[in-house]
């Protein structure tokens, strides 16, 4: 046991936070949108966003199914089964859509971004950029950061659509609920800004957070296989914890 390092180990998250903050400031201060940058950002949106579609569509559909199943069962006991679409839509738009999508995004795209940047450091690709007078922050970090901010809200929309479809399948096709009542209740209770808009704001904030943590842990990964493995794990853990904390903070301000 290394007694010297033990007393300060609990400070590690704070140190990481400080370094990650400085890292973000550097990335933003060097932000430059050129034609090449725009092209690279689109490419990263494809890698982070489009390639996450399978997990988002599948995850969304089954979350909608199981959420409707549980809600329908509980509401039926009180004779309020018709309210299932309201509960489904509000939970999805306000909380579950943004949070679950970001967690899935962190597991699929966040880890891949971290591993990619970590391996770029290990194989001297970042050094090569620097030596070619190309700023790695500009070329590698910024497009991935922007891609997360664009991709996550889009994925949240798709997740919500798929989850509602899951809800329709269970409530309407399996339990025989009236489809007109299902859609009318949802339409009557969901407010565009308060429910849907706030959820999308959360999605932008979570997308920013998830991509920031992914690029930060990749950038600071030790250039070894063990270092890259550790960095990807840190990305998932840090994103999960910070998204849940941020969700509570944002919800408290938005309600």
């Amino acid at each position: 046991m290394n007694s010297a390092s033990t007393p300060t180990r609990w400070l590690d998250p704070i140190r990481h936070l400080g370094r990650a903050g400085l890292f973000l400031l550097t990335a933003i201060s060097r932000m430059r949108l050129t034609r090449l940058q725009a092209g690279e950002t689109l490419r990263q949106i494809y890698f982070a966003g489009v390639r996450s579609l399978v997990i988002i569509v599948t995850g969304g559909f089954f979350v909608g199914l199981v959420l409707t199943l549980q809600t329908y069962d509980t509401l039926s006991r009180f004779g309020a089964a018709d309210a299932v679409s309201t509960v489904l839509a509000l939970s999805l738009f306000r909380e579950l859509g943004p949070v679950l999508t970001t967690l899935l995004f962190a597991g699929r795209a966040g880890t891949s971004i971290t591993a990619e940047i970590g391996l770029m450091r290990a194989t001297e690709q970042l050094d090569a950029l620097d030596l070619m007078a190309i700023d790695p922050m500009e070329r590698i970090v910024q497009p991935r950061l922007l891609a997360g901010i664009v991709a996550v809200p889009a994925l949240v929309l798709i997740f919500n659509v798929c989850a509602i479809l899951g809800g329709v399948v269970f409530a309407v096709f399996m339990m025989g609920s009236d489809p007109i009542t299902f859609w009318a209740n949802m339409q009557a209770t969901v407010e565009l800004w308060r429910d849907f808009g706030h959820g999308m704001l959360k999605a932008v904030a979570f997308g920013f957070l998830a991509s920031w943590l992914a690029v930060y842990f990749g950038w600071t990964a030790r250039p070894t296989s063990e270092g890259v493995a550790l960095a990807t794990t840190q990305t998932v853990i840090a994103t999960a914890i910070s998204v849940l904390i941020l969700d509570f903070v944002l919800s408290a301000f938005m309600l």
Binding site: A128, D130, L131, M132, A133
Partner: protein, 274 residues
């Protein structure tokens, strides 16, 4: 800082000292790299060869001393000036460091697209010419993962030459190459130097091949230059370390074993501890 060098620039390291991770790497180190020639920088592992390269490119700043490229102080340059300098320096890193998500053509085109406003049609011609020089025009559409290590390094060489730099630095360009790739790389280094009179610095262990490509050589050990001159003068050197290095002897100033306690003593201590 000038936009480009008028002639091939010389490189000078004057009384440079640098510590990395609390360990002195170079101490009072001086080296003159002549302009327009191929200079081989050699020495045992951990001698500070790569540090020399990183000082020239401005990736490291010395604790003391001066690093000059064409009389300009690299160690005092701002990041903007360093970027201008680096556009005039091509670097071949040890494993090539090609971007694995780009094909060979795009790898070579990257510095041209980033630093010039040339139309895509002209960039295409320039890239194909560079690839032709390294003999891999036919592999333009292939990805680095589809090529051998030696081919990857040749593509990286084409990328290092993309902006027609005045200086090219090669970090261990022959490590792990088969005899054919080695011969090709040697010829390329020589040809590139003769065609455009670049100042070339080759960091290598390959003593046997030095005479085939270098005009000037220096051997570094323990943070200092222990021998320098033409390839033939090194072979004739009476310096103990130079002889050990040239002949590849296990015994000499560079010990085979990392410093440790006496083996018998250590084994007996372990036995009695059980």
């Amino acid at each position: 800082m000038k936009e480009a060098f008028a002639n091939s620039p010389s490189i000078t390291l004057k009384r440079v000292s640098i510590e990395l991770g609390g360990r002195p790497i170079l101490e009072d180190f001086s080296l003159e790299i002549p302009a327009g020639k191929v200079t081989a920088v050699m020495g045992p592992s951990g001698a500070g060869k790569t540090t020399v390269m990183r000082l020239i490119t401005g990736q490291l700043t010395p604790d003391e001393g001066e690093v000059l490229v064409d009389s300009e102080r690299v160690d005092q340059m701002t990041s903007r000036q360093l970027n201008r300098l680096r556009r005039n320096i091509g670097v071949l890193l040890q494993n090539g460091a090609l971007f694995t998500d780009l094909n060979c053509f795009d790898n070579v085109a990257l510095p041209l697209r980033e630093h010039t406003a040339l139309p895509e049609s002209l960039i295409r011609r320039l890239v194909l010419l560079k690839l032709q020089t390294v003999g891999l025009r036919g592999a333009a559409e292939m990805y680095p993962r589809e090529l051998s290590g030696g081919m990857n390094r040749r593509i990286a060489m084409a990328r290092a030459m993309a902006l027609d730099p005045a200086i090219i630095l090669y970090d261990e360009p022959f490590a792990g190459l088969d005899p054919i790739s080695l011969g090709v790389s040697l010829r390329l280094i020589r040809d590139i130097n003769q065609a455009v009179r670049t100042t070339s610095v080759v960091i290598t262990h390959d003593v046997g091949e030095v005479a085939r490509f270098a005009d000037y050589c220096c051997i570094i050990s323990e943070g200092r230059v222990v021998a320098e001159g033409g390839p033939e003068t090194l072979a004739d050197s009476s310096h103990e370390l130079v002889q050990q290095f040239v002949n590849g002897s296990p015994d000499g100033p560079v010990a085979f074993h990392y410093p440790a306690a006496d083996l018998t003593e250590e084994m007996l201590t372990e036995e009695s501890g059980r």
